[in-house]
């Protein structure tokens, strides 16, 4: 796997986290174990650890995301890092300053980690290839390509609530075509040995040859949800109604919205997840989102632990095991 020439060191540690594709299962498991050790930390009265004191993290967001940026910021602060948030609107790069120029400027700040979000697939790779190797890059979402920390937190959620991956059937529902989250989840589930990974969507929201990533493709909820142990709903962007991908939110909800009725096709103990923010009444019914099988809120708190684990792994800190 070529990408690992960029993101892995010779001894198999992460130099950057750009994608989960091609990473070995034991590395993912190690990251999840580390994250596990941070979960109790985040529930203590004093939540701050001195692990990465003196290190600097820059949140480099070329695409707006208050929530994701906030969790990275909080995760870094819990590890005693200094944090700088930079929102770089694409308009400033459109003025003739290329992304590479921007990077050269930022390089002079001598940060230890850059967290990058960008609307172009491959942007995190590009940045990792063009910055000094002293800076570790965490991909916080690039175009439709990858969102590895989101998928890791989803895996932590599944592991904590459902146990062994090799028994799990998981269905990912909704806008697979545009979703970096779905792609990273599919890689993660397959690497960790999930029993079955399914995607469910109308054909306009399914990318060509998605089955090559190791998924079973369904177009009807009744078939796709049958006996699954977890349902991961994806956020549906409003702009999908333009460009003739979907006729209306109403029809999408009727066919693919996760309602209690449709959830009944799944295994009786099936859990419900969503990367957030949720569109109630578009892809998920409120009763399901707030129901007892919903893990949407725990997902958020595990997000913090996962990002702390990735940061400490990248910098090479010794994380005390509980």
């Amino acid at each position: 796997m070529l990408v690992n020439n960029i993101q892995l060191t010779a001894d198999g540690r992460l130099r950057h986290l750009l994608t989960l594709e091609g990473l070995p299962a034991d590395l993912l498991t190690h990251l999840l174990d580390t994250a596990e050790s941070f979960v109790p930390t985040n529930r203590q009265a004093v939540k701050k650890l001195p692990l990465l004191r003196g290190k600097t993290l820059i949140n480099l967001f070329f695409e707006n995301s208050t929530r994701t940026r906030a969790t990275f910021e909080l995760a870094a602060q819990r590890l005693s890092m200094d944090v700088l948030n930079l929102d770089i609107s694409t308009s400033s790069t459109a003025k003739g300053e290329t992304l590479k120029d921007t990077l050269k400027t930022l390089e002079a700040m001598h940060a230890d980690i850059f967290v990058v979000r960008h609307s172009d697939s491959g942007a995190a790779h590009f940045i990792a290839q063009h910055l000094t190797p002293d800076v570790a890059i965490i991909n916080a979402g690039d175009g439709r390509h990858a969102h590895p920390t989101q998928a890791l937190l989803d895996m932590l959620t599944l592991r904590r609530h459902k146990g062994d991956f090799n028994q799990l059937k998981v269905a990912i529902v909704g806008d697979i075509l545009h979703s970096r989250v779905a792609r990273s989840q599919i890689h993660a589930l397959n690497i960790l040995g999930a029993a079955e990974v399914r995607v469910i969507a109308p054909k306009t929201l399914l990318p060509v040859a998605i089955e090559d990533l190791g998924v079973r493709v369904f177009t009807r909820m009744a078939d796709g949800l049958k006996d699954v142990d977890a349902v991961i709903m994806l956020r549906l962007q409003k702009e999908r109604m333009q460009g003739a991908l979907l006729p209306s939110e109403q029809e999408f909800y009727r066919l693919y919205g996760l309602t209690s009725d449709k959830l009944a096709y799944a295994h009786p103990q099936a859990v419900v997840m969503h990367p957030g923010p949720i569109n109630r009444g578009v892809e998920i019914e409120s009763a399901v989102a707030d129901g007892e099988r919903s893990l949407i809120l725990p997902q958020v708190s595990y997000g913090l632990a996962v990002r702390m684990a990735v940061m400490s792994h990248l910098i090479g800190a010794q994380v005390p095991q509980p």
């Binding site: 290329t98 992304l99 172009d120 063009h130 990318p207």
Partner: protein
């Protein structure tokens, strides 16, 4: 000092597919023309004798669809850099794309460029005018005026048409003047904002795809309208196996359409996009291994008559960007000789086929009396050292475009000398 006009090139292996010629012969030039092959005529005393032992001598190469970039961003390329670059690649003629800035849609602009090109030592400049105004696919250009100004053909490249009615009228009007129309079939709506072949690789990488149907749908429209209008049409840069089939069927029915494939589409596939390498961002996109194999077969069989460079020079900033934000194109004129020889070594083409598809075939498409070494013909030819080893570096390329995935690689085979009308316009010989 007056330039030598009586010249003998001795000892080269001379190839001319039109004469079934492949032999070590001397070539004698006089007044810019081929005077004799083999023994010099009696009383011929050359003013210059060039020892070309160990070199191949072929008719000058002819490229359909070079992007010279002028007028436009002069830091990406200009006539003064790209015509010499073409010569350094063995090309004696470049048929230049009209998608310049501004678009080459006015006779006055064509005349200005041709005047400028005439003063540049390099390949001959054969401009293609725009088929529609500003290449918007809406209004016809002054086609006859462009023809009078010296356009060898009119092209719409891949920019498409507002509707097929416009395409039909473009073909009808061009047919009135027996003008050659060059089209890269691509439906703009289906190609949309895509930057890679719509398939497994683009799906995995999260890149917006250009489906095969973007090409085949446009090609079907063009083929049916060629049949209806009788227009002379050449299809540029075919990228799909399915298109090769469609062209084969059309040609079997007697339709006189021709087509070319770029060297990129013969050498690479979608798999080369791994790691988001923007040097492989080309238009149309690199497709599957099956497509690549079918294109190779199509060029061998002659369904695709012409091998083109697809040369599109870019500056560093155009490629230093995330894949979708990068600009398409490869600087390919000067590496085509090595890559062409590699195709011969791999058994894709014979050496004669390679030369024919770079010389006589494009000359026929363009209606030029060129691409051969007949007695009395213009002395347009190149000398190729098939054993030269060289490393591709920015400094080794004459083109302003250093955007090639071959940078840093060691290649075998290189053009060492190129002649236009009996004048050596490029030389690497001591």
């Amino acid at each position: 000092m007056s330039e030598a006009t009586k010249i003998s090139i001795i000892g080269a292996r001379v190839l001319d597919p039109t004469q079934h010629l492949d032999a070590c012969l001397d070539v004698h030039l006089d007044q810019g023309r081929i005077l004799a092959l083999g023994d010099a005529p009696a009383h011929f005393i050359p003013e210059r004798t060039l020892d070309a032992s160990g070199l191949l001598l072929t008719p000058g190469w002819i490229d359909i669809g070079t992007h010279v970039r002028e007028p436009g961003p002069s830091y990406k390329g200009q006539l003064a850099s790209e015509l010499p670059a073409a010569a350094a690649g063995g090309f004696t003629h470049v048929c230049a794309r009209p998608d310049t800035q501004p678009v080459l849609d006015s006779p006055a602009l064509v005349r200005t460029l041709r005047d400028k090109a005439a003063g540049i030592q390099g390949a001959r400049f054969l401009p293609m005018g725009a088929l529609t105004r500003d290449l918007q696919g809406q209004a016809l250009t002054n086609m006859a005026g462009l023809q009078d100004a010296g356009c060898i053909a009119l092209s719409q490249m891949h920019y498409g048409f507002q509707d097929v009615g416009i395409l039909k009228r473009c073909l009808e009007y061009a047919a009135t003047f027996d003008l050659l129309v060059c089209l890269q079939p691509q439906d703009p709506a289906l190609a949309s904002k895509g930057c890679a072949h719509e398939g497994a690789v683009a799906t995995r990488m999260g890149l917006a795809g250009i489906p095969e149907t973007a090409e085949t749908l446009a090609l079907a429209n063009i083929l049916l309208l060629v049949e209806a209008t009788g227009a002379r049409v050449h299809l540029q840069h075919i990228s799909c196996a399915r298109s090769v089939d469609m062209l084969y069927q059309a040609q079997e029915r007697g339709l006189a359409v021709t087509a070319d494939v770029s060297i990129q589409h013969l050498m690479y596939s979608e798999h080369d996009l791994e790691n988001f390498n923007t040097l492989f961002h080309v238009q149309p996109p690199l497709r599957t291994l099956q497509d690549q194999a079918a294109l190779r077969q199509g060029l061998q069989d002659g369904v695709l008559q012409v091998l083109s460079s697809g040369h599109l020079p870019q500056d560093a900033a155009a490629k230093n960007a995330p894949f979708a934000a990068s600009e398409a194109g490869v600087s390919s004129l000067e590496t085509l000789a090595s890559q062409g020889l590699a195709l011969v070594n791999q058994g894709v083409l014979t050496l004669n086929q390679l030369i024919e598809r770079l010389t006589y075939a494009p000359a026929c498409v363009l209606g030029l009396d060129a691409g051969h070494l007949h007695l009395g013909a213009n002395a347009d030819f190149c000398l190729l050292d098939p054993d030269a080893h060289w490393q591709v570096t920015p400094a080794s390329l004459v083109s302003m475009g250093k955007n090639t995935p071959l940078l840093g690689q060691e290649l075998t085979g290189r053009i060492v000398s190129t002649w236009v009308q009996g004048r050596e316009v490029f030389s690497r010989l001591a």
